[in-house]
Each structure stands twice: as structure tokens, then as C-alpha cells.
Symmetry: C2
Subunit: 373 residues, 2 copies
């Protein structure tokens, strides 16, 4: 029997599951937030994922439910599970990707390496943390942040006053400002049975809080660093009971430590390179994992790969025309488009280049990306 996978959320991550679903012989159905979204080809329903009745209607005809994002409320997820629906990742795991305070507490319990942190409810508590950490720190809203939103570097506790007001009665997360050399990301896939596979750790370059470029595998990473990153990834996947893809964003500190920055329990921007650089892409792997199918090999196809995000240019720019020009100039560049209207800073696609020399791959990817600057 063909398995039917229901994806909640109609963005580009759902869209990029369509290709492998088709080849794997899975029937994919998407609950999209609105008409005409990235994953429209597979959208069988338009509706509000925070509304239990809507989600119940959607899951009626699917065998397993997974996600394009982490925003489905816990009460909706738990109601589905109580109904007997297969939800992957399940609410118990997903809560750690939904609330950063809950995540920090769980990672502490699991002994995963992370920056110093605290949950603070008042300006005084925050100031005490600042005083203990050289006067500067990062504050984060526990929920709803993405692409740099909900994250702020502060030098005094007053700079978070608006958040204390907005999240009255709740704690906000404060973390030490880590002295890091670069950011890495570790992709892990885990099945219900506990079977896991890891991808090689990659370097991820952020610009203005948004992932800009990824180099895979992380250039110059020692064998031991690769092992440690993989261990951190599998330990977290296991401790948190993740099913599907897990992305662990890591700081590589100036004193050779790896500290967990953020988690995502779905295909993640730092794993897009796998579409053209690995035997099994993260999108295929996520589908395999959530459908409890055997996991695929994570070997790289070439020695190196580079991914660059295409951020929307001027409002209304004809992005399709630029894709054509970039393709003409760079036949080895694999351009992935999201079918989204161009808006400044909006992720509208990405470019993957795989090759036997990282510098060559980066050069090509940047040259292709320049057509969208």
C-alpha cells in the first residue's frame, strides 16, 4: 500500500519534499496556510494549522503527519496523537524545537554542551546574568523566533524591557555571548525504531541572522571534530526522541569546543546542499524517517559542496528571468526555486554546486548567486 504523508505547512521545505516523495512512491498531501504557496502542487487543503478541526479534517486521509515548520500548537499535536494519528516528530520531541527555554533545560539534563544560559523573568535577573558574563549577552524569545527574529545582543538589561512587557509573566532566555570561530551544523536522521544516520558536519555562514552560505563538509574540520559533532547530534536525537531530520546548529568556539546553538526538527537550510551533494537528500531522508522506511546513505557524491541562498531582490523583480541568466552562465550550478514572489531579503531559492574542490564550488555558486544580488 502506498503510504500517504501529510505535511502541515506549505512553504519551501514542504515543496522540496515533493520531488523525493514522487520518486519514493509516497503520496504527499500538504495543508497550506493559503493559496498559491511554495508547495501548491501537493496542497490538498488550505487552512489554519492552529485550528484542531481543520487539522483533523486534513489528517483523516493520511498515514503519517509531518511538518514544514514547528508552529503547530502542542494541544493540536497532542489531540492528534490521542486520536491515534502517527505524528513525526511527535509533540514530546517537538516541544524542544518550539520553546528554547524547554530545549536548554532538556539539553542541560542530557549533558549536551551548550552556552551558559538562564531563564529570566525580570530586569534584575537579566542584569545579574549580564554582570556574571562580562556585561554582554544574547536574549531570545523562547517561542516564535526564526531567521534572526526574536534574537538580540544586549549590553544592558533595559534593552529587553519591551520583551518583558510583551511576554509578561513568562521568562525570556538569556545566553552567554559565545566567542566562536564559526558556526557549524550537524544533520541527523532518526527513525521510530531508533535507527540513525548522520551527515558530515557543515559550516554555515549567517548574514544578518539568516543562513547565507553553507560549505559541506565543514572545511578543515578535524576527524575528531567531525566525530564529536556527530555524537552531539545523535545524542540529542536520542535524548529528545526525535523522528525525522534533526538539525543541530553549533558554535565552534575559539577554544575548540562545540556548543549547541539551536535545534530544528525538519529539513533545515543548512542541509539543502544534500540535494545535489549527497546520495540521499535531507528531504528524502526526512520522508524515509517519518514513514519508518530504511534510511538512505549519507555519503557525499563529490568531495565538496556549496549552498548559497537566493534572497529576494527589489519588490516584484522578475526572478525567473534571473534564474535563466544564472543557468546560462553556470551549467554546473543547481538552482532550486521556491515559487515565491520576490521581496527584499526573502528566501526565494538556493543554489547548490558540488565538485571535487571546495574553492571551485564556492566560486561557481557565488558567481551564479551574483545574478540575484
Amino acid at each position: 500500500m502506498t503510504k500517504r504523508v501529510g505535511v502541515i505547512g506549505g512553504g519551501q521545505l514542504a515543496r522540496m519534499m515533493i520531488a523525493p516523495a514522487s520518486e519514493l512512491g509516497l503520496e504527499i498531501r500538504v495543508l497550506a496556510e493559503q493559496d498559491g504557496m511554495s508547495a501548491k502542487l501537493a496542497a490538498t487543503q488550505i487552512g489554519d494549522y492552529t485550528d484542531l478541526a481543520t487539522v483533523r479534517e486534513f489528517v483523516k486521509d493520511v498515514d503519517v503527519v509531518t511538518f514544514d515548520h514547528e508552529h503547530v500548537p502542542q494541544e493540536v499535536l497532542r489531540a492528534l496523537v490521542a486520536d491515534g494519528v502517527e505524528v513525526h516528530p511527535g509533540p514530546d520531541a517537538l516541544q524542544y524545537a518550539q520553546d528554547k527555554l524547554v530545549m536548554r533545560a532538556k539539553l542541560a539534563e542530557a549533558g549536551a554542551p551548550q552556552p551558559d544560559w538562564a531563564g529570566v523573568a525580570t530586569r534584575d535577573e537579566l542584569q545579574a546574568f549580564l554582570d556574571d558574563h562580562g556585561g554582554r549577552a544574547v536574549v531570545k524569545t523562547p517561542r516564535g523566533g526564526y531567521d534572526g527574529k526574536g534574537v538580540r545582543v544586549i549590553g544592558s538589561a533595559e534593552e529587553a524591557d519591551d520583551w518583558f512587557a510583551a511576554f509578561e509573566g513568562e521568562r525570556i532566555l538569556v545566553e552567554e555571548l559565545v566567542d566562536f570561530r564559526r558556526e557549524l551544523a550537524q544533520q541527523v536522521a532518526r527513525r521510530k525504531s531508533g535507527e540513525m544516520v548522520v551527515y558530515p558536519v557543515v559550516e554555515s555562514v549567517q548574514k544578518d541572522g539568516v543562513c547565507a552560505e553553507v560549505f559541506a563538509p565543514a572545511p578543515g574540520a578535524s576527524e575528531r571534530a567531525i566525530e564529536v559533532a556527530a555524537q552531539i547530534g545523535t545524542q540529542i536525537a536520542e535524548s529528545l526522541g526525535v523522528t525525522g531530520m534533526l538539525a543541530v546548529e553549533l558554535f565552534e568556539t575559539s577554544d575548540e569546543r562545540l556548543l549547541v546553538n539551536e535545534l530544528a526538527m525538519r529539513p533545515h537550510n543548512s542541509g539543502h546542499w544534500t540535494q545535489d551533494g549527497a546520495v540521499t537528500s535531507q528531504f528524502e531522508q526526512h520522508l524515509r524517517a517519518v514513514c519508518d522506511l530504511p534510511l538512505g546513505a549519507t555519503d557525499t557524491l563529490r568531495d565538496a559542496a556549496c549552498m548559497i541562498n537566493i534572497l529576494g531582490g527589489p519588490e516584484g523583480a522578475d526572478i525567473d528571468e534571473r534564474f535563466g541568466v544564472a543557468m546560462q552562465a553556470h551549467p554546473t550550478a543547481k538552482i532550486h526555486t521556491y515559487g515565491k514572489a520576490s521581496r527584499p531579503g526573502r528566501k526565494v531559492g538556493h543554489i547548490n554546486v558540488a565538485g571535487d574542490d571546495l574553492d571551485d564550488a564556492v566560486y561557481t555558486a557565488r558567481a551564479a548567486a551574483a545574478f540575484f544580488a
Copy 2:
């Protein structure tokens, strides 16, 4: 503006265009022969492709029309072109893939190397050809043959009597029985502008007239053989005015010649390996070519690749269960399923394995395919 591609025919070739269309940002729509076919995810209309009104209805909302097969009648194609519809490949090119006698005459005119052949209308004409060619030959119905159907090896003219009766008044094609060492296949993509790219020539192994295995690149092929195959391919693509993918099936003779056996103007079974073994798959390349987008690189990702077809086992066999077992045993095997019910001998999927050693790739692919035997 997003280009809308209309594919006539709902089989696995249309299905396998869905994945790259989604990534390229093309909107794909399929006119399927019936409900529930391989390409059902993109099927926007069910109907008869030999009926002009049906096809006109379908093409109304697309920017370019292409095909899953060669069976759309010339009169339908020519009516579309007269309506101003972009049809790729166009009827002028497609006629050579639709009628083997027309193809042989055109290749003769173009000077492409091919077996001795003749169009014969009577038993006497056929016997004369046999007498000139050692008493044995291959007869082919000019139209409608596929996967070994419409092809027969004969030792006397009477063995074609039923065809003369069935195709009364028309000629049938007779070809010399070529003494060949193996069969090769050359993939070429050509745009309207004339831009072309070639894939490395591959070896294709047929069983009972059906493609069984493909080795890419053709093992042991000399540099000169690779060049000659590519030249034959590009010369034919140009002479025939092909737009899209062209597959040229070749005999490698015992005396080191390459002779054209058959042509297909679409993605072809001998090119499925490109999905996991080349920078640009033949399905993506076909879409690029018919949409007049720049062509992608045809470089191989690894040194070698092997493709094995999965032919349906016993009626009603649970093919999905077997896919799971094969995936479990062979994580580097890429299994592509067509969403078709299993019937003996029916192509229901294929397995690609790429690697740096052909023997290893073949071993893995055969071991994975054995689960379907």
C-alpha cells in the same frame, strides 16, 4: 513568469519530470490517459490524446507542450502548431520517432551509419532482401512498436505474412541482422536555438527486447568511440531538428562500427541513470530544453553508475513491501518507483547506484533488484 509545461501522457516518464519541474520552478500539468496513472500528482486532465478537441482544451493553459510518449498523431500535433502552440519536439522531428521507415530514409539522407534496410510491401520483396543478407533479417512494423513489440527475427519471408495482411498496402521495415558485440545508447539534449549537450555513451543490456540494465559510461569504451557516439547523436539531433532529449540506440558491431538502431525523442530508459549519476538528470534536461532554458552540465557525479529496471513480479505482489526490504539492505541504492500495480514483466520502477567502481555499483544494484525477482 512561471512557465507552464504540459506533458501529454501520464506514464512514468511524465512522473519523473515532476521532481525537476518542482525544483526548476516550472508548473507541470499532465494530460493522462486515465485516472490513477504514474504521473497522477500533476494530472490536471484525463482524456484521449488522439482527440484534437481534448488536446486543445489541455494546451489552453500551458506555455509549452511535450510528451511522455511518441503516440500523439501527426494531425493533432500539426493542428496545435497551426494554433500557435509551442510543441517540443515538434511534429517535423517527431515523425522520425513515430515511423521507423521515415526514420531510416531520413538517416540515410543525413548520412548517419545504420544497418542495411528496405521498406518492403510484398513477400517477394522481403525474400529478395533475405537472399541478399544471408537468409536472416529483422522485420519491424514502422509504427506502434515498443519494448520489443513489433520486432521479429525471421529466416523466411512467410514469417511476416500476418504483418503484410495486417498492414495491407503499407510497407514494413526489414533490416539486416547486425553482428553486434553490445548495444550502446547516446543521450543528447537540444534547444530550439540549436544549443546541444551530450551525455557519455552508455551500455544498455536488453532482455527479451526490454531494457534490463544500463552501465554508464559504457565500460571500456575508447575515447574515440565516445566521440563518435556523441557525433552521431548531435548530427541526428540537428538533422532531424529535435528539441528536448534524444536517445540514440546504437549497435556496437563486432568490427568496431556504431550503427543506429532506434531513436526516442524524450527521456529514455537508457538515461535513467542520470537521475543519480549526473549533475543534470535527463528529466531536468528535457524540461530545460523544451522550455528553451539553458542546458545543464552533463558531467557524471561519480566514475560509474548502474541502472536496473524493476519488472513486476507476480500479479498483485506487494511491491512497496519489497522496496522497503531492498532499501534496508542497500542504503546506497536509489530506488525510483512508478506508482504502478505489479504485473509480470511490467516496468514498475528502477534502481540506480553510482560509485567510483562500476563492479561495486553493479553488484549493489543487482543485489537490490534481486528482492523483486
